[in-house]
């Protein structure tokens, strides 16, 4: 009511028309367009409003938002840079990278406390706006994310107005939608229409004012208030009579402002004509804005001092917590977070369950979803966000593990039975809305619900006081109370659960009307009063006989019976009237007829009166059902008729029939009365039962919620089971496959197998067993002893028992029918879990193996006898160690040892001492082991020390598995052969030596011959050249001189003789020259080999037309003339070969020196020949002469190599040592000729 002084900030603040209305506009993406539309839509004449525009601006860039908006409005637009007083008619724009808040009429610009990405400037501003008088108006426009949603809830709670741009119009609807999701929105409209609403609101804002206390209201307004609450009660079932006047009035005032209704009376009319408004008002009244960890200090105290104690108890016992008035669930989740955090620290923490209840179904739905705007980052630490929430876009969703701890239920704290056996009740900022008596009632409910030692956590402005002694303050500052043990069981306050108490309160709104008589105010009321005073006393009742209204004097027809008060007219009305009234009422309601009773005698204060009861049915308001008016008409005059009918004293004079009838009637009436009483009492019982049922129902409801939660779990478990089932199915198929494999395997093994259990009953068998045992499919489960079999085996049972007893496998060979043999194996049956579960008996047919063994044994015997009987040949078996194992007659004869002497002796005894010394016996064994068998020829020793030449073989013997078994040694006496052989060898050796010697002699002879010939040739050539030829030259010269002399004398005949002589001389010279060259090339005497070959080249060209190319690096002097000559001749012969056989006129002679030898190669590319075929020819084949050359070279330590391929030429290489290594007779021949010629 104070219009001059600003009331203190806070929810109790009221507003005045002179205050500046602050309109906060929050927007983000797509917001500029919307804000522009908004300002364009503002009426020109708007006054007293300041706008604050908060947008998400790029922190890095200057903003031109102010200029952009200035174009659209006549209001002054400015971007804030510093603290600024709010003035009407201004538009303030947030600067980039700053946050904005409002307080005490000033706008403050601040740095962000949060890092980029976690900033919520719109929320921040709206939160501060909520603290300003009246809460102002908060508008959310186009934008992404959910910034603003939390702040606008605060605005709504503070009594401000919340508007949202129509999401269909908004370019980005995420922000508008998240605000709408809070359920606390007054208008959802397009931007332009929002502007119109703002203007309308401004006009009614401040003008519409309602005082804080009902008593300050004018009487009619007080009545209107009662009417509003009554209507609300009727429409919604919620009673706000016990809520604080200030709370209720503030909320109604806001609704009035929203609808521009100026008085409570008008609002009552509005409420009547607009049914949805009742819900809106209810919602407004139920508003409770909660936050995560609101008043952080108190939560810290709770976490520190209470939570640990709660979880300390018996781990088997659930910790139950109740959060009544949980609204959108933040508080409930906060408690859950604290409990979960603490429980995580404990090794063994008890389970905990939080019951969260509220009246507001929408809020509960929100809470159950558990999705909160990202602005909760301001209230919830990052760590908790990560641990308990999952991020979904711009929202956080409570994780399932936390969600399932909280059970949300629709529950009326004042009406419905409470949850019980609780350890903690958190009820913050609920009591403040209730009046004192109701507060005390609620506290008593908590007392009942909490176990001793439990805690009650209240809001910062609330406290427990009054008459209850059960609560002791545990933390006064943070409003934490402990429920003490009082020694007596807590009692539920009745009123909260008794339907009658609600009924009583229902009458309450009518009280002012009853009091109105003392204060007539207008003609209508005066008329009513007049009617009231003159009309018969009347009561308005409902179809179920509840008293709705009493006229002033109607009370005289009522009487209070004992027991609890009630407003049932049939209980309250005087007993004399009860029967008739009941009849009349039933007539009125059932038949809809107005009825009047007979006159009934009633004694008022001992004075009898006759009363008619008239019941007039009528229709009340549509939603309240039928009503009836009960009129009491007193008849003072006692007419005869009446007297006759009712007057008691006269009845004696009546006829006996009448009397009897009357008696009958009285008796019936009494019985009826008794029945009625019986009915009443059973009704009471029913009510009690009903209460119990209600309480149970409450539990059921909670359980149902829990079941719903667990249903999801079960569904997921079901999923898992389906998967497991699928897996099992596959396993079963695998198993079936394995079983089938096993069956086939058993059939395929052809091994008869019996599976016996511990009692030797047949469990399973393979087909092949039926050949031995007369077992049939029906025998499974029968004892093996009952079966006959075809095996000569009497100890089957004993053996099986032995196996079971000792747990060792057992093997026997048993004979079957028709001479068949079986290997029977019996081993314990071990299960996968290593348990002995019976015996497995297998029968393997070994008949063939046995037969084979028998055959082999016989063969061996025969063989042994054979060996034993051999006399000429020693046959000895040695074991692996080389010791004699068998010794046949042959051995006895050969070596002289008896079998008994030899057996066990080392095999070495038959070796000579020299051989033993050299390790021959061991070497022989090792060689035999390595190479399977070795021949053995050596001198052996007899027992008598004589020797003989033994020849034979030693063979290694192996076991079937490949391991060495021993050695077999066979031997005969071959001394005679050995001797003959030795002689032959000696003979051969001497023969060869002689041949070799002779060959060498021949070779030396040949060599000497060759050299001698060479010498001779050289000598002859020298004589020819040096002596004969020179003399011939001299003669020639003499003849020439003589002929010249003779010319002068003209002795013609003589001259002619001379001339003829000269010609002969020339021919002689030619002959000697040619002979010289043929005998020995003159060039060889002093030239190097290269020069000689060069001479040969010219010689060959001139004589044989063959072009010889010489490739040489040096002159290659060879000191030995014979050798030189030999090589020269060899080359010449090779070249002759080329001329004769190669079919080419070209050849190459290559000379090279390597180390101490000279290599001369004669290469041609002629037709070539097969070298091997040449080698076969006799050395005497002069046409080739190659072998002769080779032979000659050999005498001097040289050699000739021929490579030739038919068609690809020949390559002959002469290898000659520089100093010849003469062999044979060369040394013996003439010494090398001197150098002199």
């Amino acid at each position: 009511m104070d219009s001059t002084n600003r009331p203190p900030a806070g929810r109790e603040a009221l507003t005045s028309p002179d205050d500046v209305l602050i309109v906060g506009i929050g927007a983000s993406a797509g917001g500029i367009e919307a804000i522009q539309a908004f300002f364009e839509g503002l009426p020109e004449d708007l006054e007293g409003v300041a706008f604050v525009v908060v947008m998400h601006l790029d922190p890095e860039r200057e903003s031109s938002l102010a200029e952009v908006l200035q174009h659209r409005t006549s209001l002054k637009v400015q971007q804030l840079t510093e603290r600024h007083k709010i003035e009407a008619g201004s538009v303030y724009v947030i600067p980039p990278n700053k946050s904005l808040s409002v307080a005490d009429g000033y706008l403050s610009v601040e740095e962000f406390a949060q890092p980029r990405g976690r900033r919520a400037p719109i929320d921040l501003f709206f939160r501060s706006l909520a603290q300003s008088p009246g809460g102002g108006i908060g508008i959310a426009m186009s934008g992404g994310g959910s910034d603003g949603a939390v702040g606008l809830k605060a605005v709504e709670e503070a009594g401000g107005l919340v508007m949202v741009q129509d999401p269909d119009e908004a370019a980005h609807d995420s922000m508008p939608l998240s605000v709408i999701a809070t359920g606390m929105v007054d208008f959802v409209l397009p931007a332009r229409e929002l502007a119109v609403k703002v203007a309308e609101f401004r006009r009614s804002w401040g003008a519409i004012q309602v005082p804080e206390q009902q008593t300050e209201l004018p009487k009619d307004e007080q009545e209107a208030l009662q009417g509003i609450l009554g209507l609300l009660w009727n429409r919604t079932g919620h009673d706000f009579c016990d809520y604080k006047d200030s709370t209720v009035l503030r909320r109604i005032e806001r609704r009035m402002q929203v609808h521009h209704v100026e008085s409570l009376g008008q609002y009552l009319d509005f409420l009547r004509t607009h049914p949805p408004e009742a819900q809106a008002l209810l919602k407004s009244l139920l508003i409770s804005v909660t936050q995560f960890f609101r008043d952080g200090d108190s939560w810290d105290a709770l976490a520190e001092n209470v939570i640990p104690e709660l979880l300390e108890g018996d781990p088997e016992e659930n910790v139950r917590v109740w959060v009544p008035g949980c609204a959108t669930g933040e508080e409930a989740y906060s408690i859950a977070i604290l409990l979960a955090e603490r429980a995580a620290d404990l090794a063994q923490a008890p389970e905990f369950q939080i019951f969260a209840s509220d009246l507001d179904e929408e809020a509960l739905a929100f809470a159950r979803r558990g999705v909160y705007p990202e602005a909760i980052e301001a209230d919830v630490s990052e760590e908790r966000l990560q641990r308990f929430f999952s991020r979904e876009g711009h929202h956080y969703r409570v994780k399932e593990e936390l969600r399932e701890r909280v059970l949300f239920a629709s529950h009326n704290l004042l009406k419905d039975p409470p949850f019980s056996r609780l350890r903690l009740v958190t009820c913050r900022n609920l009591l403040i809305y209730l009046n004192r008596p109701l507060q005390q009632k609620v506290v008593r409910i908590f007392e009942y619900a909490l176990r001793p030692g439990g805690y009650l956590f209240l809001g910062s402005a609330e406290s427990v006081d009054g008459d209850t002694g059960a609560f002791r303050s545990a933390d006064k500052k943070h409003r934490i109370y402990r429920r003490e043990e009082t020694g007596e069981p807590a009692r539920l306050p009745e009123l909260a659960f008794d339907a009658r108490s609600v009924d009583e309160r229902r009458i309450e709104p009518a009280r002012p009307i009853r009091q109105r008589g003392t204060l007539p105010s207008d003609e209508l009321e005066r008329h009513e009063e007049f009617l009231e005073s003159h009309a018969p006393p009347s009561i308005v009742v409902t179809a179920d006989h509840k008293i709705l209204h009493l006229s002033e004097s109607a009370g005289r027809y009522l009487e209070r019976p004992g027991g609890l008060p009630s407003n049932d007219i049939l209980r309250e009305v005087r007993s004399e009237l009860r029967l008739d009234l009941q009849a009349a009422l039933s007539m009125a309601f059932d038949a809809g007829r107005s009825t009047s009773t007979r006159p009934i005698k009633v004694r008022f204060n001992g004075e009898a009166s006759w009363v008619h009861i008239i019941v007039q049915p009528g229709h009340g308001e549509t939603d309240t059902g039928d009503r009836a008016l009960v009129l009491f008409a007193e008849v003072e005059a006692t007419g005869a008729g009446h007297a006759e009918d009712t007057d008691g004293p006269t009845h004696a004079e009546r006829s006996p029939l009448v009397h009897r009838l009357e008696e009958e009637t009285r008796r019936l009436r009494d019985r009826l009365q008794a029945t009625i009483e019986q009915y009443e009492s059973s009704k009471e019982e029913m009510k009690a039962a009903n209460e119990e049922l209600q309480s149970m129902n409450e539990e059921y409801k909670s359980t149902a919620e829990e079941l719903e939660t667990s249903k999801e779990e079960i569904q997921s478990v079901n999923e898992e089971l389906t998967t497991v089932n699928q897996e099992l199915k596959e396993k079963v198929e695998e198993l079936a496959q394995a079983n089938s494999d096993l069956q086939n395997l058993m059939a395929a093994t052809e091994v008869g197998t019996l599976f016996l259990d511990r009692d030797l009953n047949i469990q399973r068998y393979t087909p092949h067993i039926t050949e031995l045992f007369n077992v049939m499919p029906g025998d499974v489960g029968r004892s093996i002893t009952h079966l006959t079999h075809d095996v000569e085996y009497e100890h089957l049972v004993e053996d099986a028992e032995l196996v079971l007893d000792k747990l060792v496998p057992l093997e026997r060979e048993v004979r079957g029918r028709r001479g068949a043999w079986f290997l029977m194996r019996m081993r314990p049956y071990r299960t996968m879990k290593d348990r002995i579960d019976g015996v497995v008996v297998t029968f393997i047919d070994i008949t063939r193996r046995r037969d084979e063994e028998e055959a082999r044994r016989k063969a061996e015997e025969r063989y042994r006898l054979l060996v034993q009987s051999v006399e000429e040949y020693a046959i000895i078996l040695l074991d692996t160690e080389g010791q004699i194992a068998t010794w046949n007659i042959g051995a006895e004869r050969l070596f002289g040892y008896d079998e008994s002497e030899a057996l066990g002796q080392p095999g070495a005894i038959i070796f000579t001492a020299e051989d033993r010394e050299m390790g021959a016996p061991e070497d022989e064994l090792a060689a035999a082991a390595k190479d399977e068998s070795v021949t053995n020829e050596r001198w052996h020793l007899r027992k008598d020390g004589s020797r003989f030449w033994g020849s034979g073989m030693m063979t290694a013997l192996h076991l079937p598995d490949g391991n060495l078994r021993g050695f077999a040694k066979g031997m005969g006496d071959h001394t005679d052969r050995k001797r003959a052989e030795d002689e032959l060898v000696e003979l051969m050796a001497s023969l060869e030596g002689r041949i070799e010697e002779r060959t060498r002699e021949v070779r030396e002879l040949a060599s000497s011959l060759t050299m001698a010939e060479q010498h001779e040739r050289t000598r002859v050539a020298r004589i020819l050249h040096s002596d004969l030829q020179q003399m011939l030259y001299s003669i020639q010269m003499k003849l020439a001189l003589a002929r010249e002399d003779l010319d002068d004398t003209s002795a013609a005949p003589a001259v002619a003789h001379l001339r003829e002589s000269e010609e002969w001389l020339d021919r002689a010279l030619d002959t000697t020259r040619q002979l010289t060259v043929e005998l020995s090339p003159p060039v060889l005497e002093k030239e190097g080999l290269t020069d000689a070959i060069a001479w040969l080249r010219t010689h060959m060209l001139e004589l044989h037309d063959i072009e010889v190319e010489i490739v040489a690096d040096g002159p290659y002097y060879l000191p030995n003339e014979d050798w030189r000559l030999l090589l020269f001749q060899a080359v010449r012969e090779l070249l002759f070969n080329v001329v004769k056989h190669a079919g080419t006129d070209r050849a190459t002679v290559e000379l090279s020196e390597r180390e101490d030898e000279i290599v001369i190669r004669v290469v041609d590319e002629g037709r070539g020949f097969d070298v091997s075929s040449v080698a076969e020819r006799s050395a005497g084949d002069s046409s080739v002469g190659l072998l002769t050359i080779g032979e000659r070279l050999k005498l001097f330590g040289g050699r000739l190599e021929i490579e030739s391929t038919p068609g690809a030429g020949t390559r002959a290489s002469l290898h000659a040592p520089i100093e010849p290594r003469r062999r044979g007779a060369v040394e013996a021949g003439e010494p090398a000729a001197g150098e002199a010629s």
Binding site: H1025, S1026, D1027, Q1029, Q1030, M1031, Y1033, S1034, Q1036, M1037, K1038, A1040, L1041, E1044, D1066, L1069, D1070, R1073, Q1074, V1077, P1082, V1083, K1086, E1087, A1094, W1095, R1097, T1098, H1099, E1102, L1103, A1236, S1237
Partner: protein
């Protein structure tokens, strides 16, 4: 050359009869002065040291050294000396090598009449090869 009679010639020939014959033949028939003669290369090499001669007639076959080799060494020391080979060998092998060694001519023994002309030609600064060689004949 004006006075062939005065031309001074030295003979290297290992065969005594031959040496005498040639000396007599050259002096009597060719009008040359045979200043000296030697039967070995070593002796020739030593004697020629102090002699003023114009032409040396060398046999190819010498007991201590190849005649062609003697020519090479002689010319090494006295390049102005004119050398003429006189040989029983008529293979081009010898001829080429003699000319290569620096000899101014090559005369095959067996036609003494040829010798004075050959000497004269060499003395006159020419080069002489036996007719048989010049015609490329090979009679052996």
């Amino acid at each position: 050359m004006t006075g062939s009679a005065e031309a001074r010639v030295y003979l290297v020939e290992d065969h005594d009869v031959m040496r005498e014959m040639i000396g007599e033949f050259l002096e009597s028939r060719a009008g040359l002065t045979v200043v000296g003669c030697a039967s070995t290369a070593g002796a020739a090499f030593a004697e020629l040291e102090g002699l003023d001669i114009e032409l040396v007639l060398v046999d190819t076959s010498l007991p201590d050294m190849n005649g062609i080799e003697l020519v090479r060494r002689l010319l090494d020391r006295r390049p102005e000396t004119l050398c003429l080979m006189y040989s029983g060998h008529e293979e081009t092998f010898y001829v080429e090598r003699a000319l290569e060694a620096g000899a101014k001519g090559y005369v095959v023994k067996g036609n003494p009449r040829e010798l004075p002309g050959a000497i004269q030609k060499v003395l006159n600064g020419g080069t002489y090869l036996s007719r048989a060689l010049r015609h490329g004949e090979s009679r052996f």
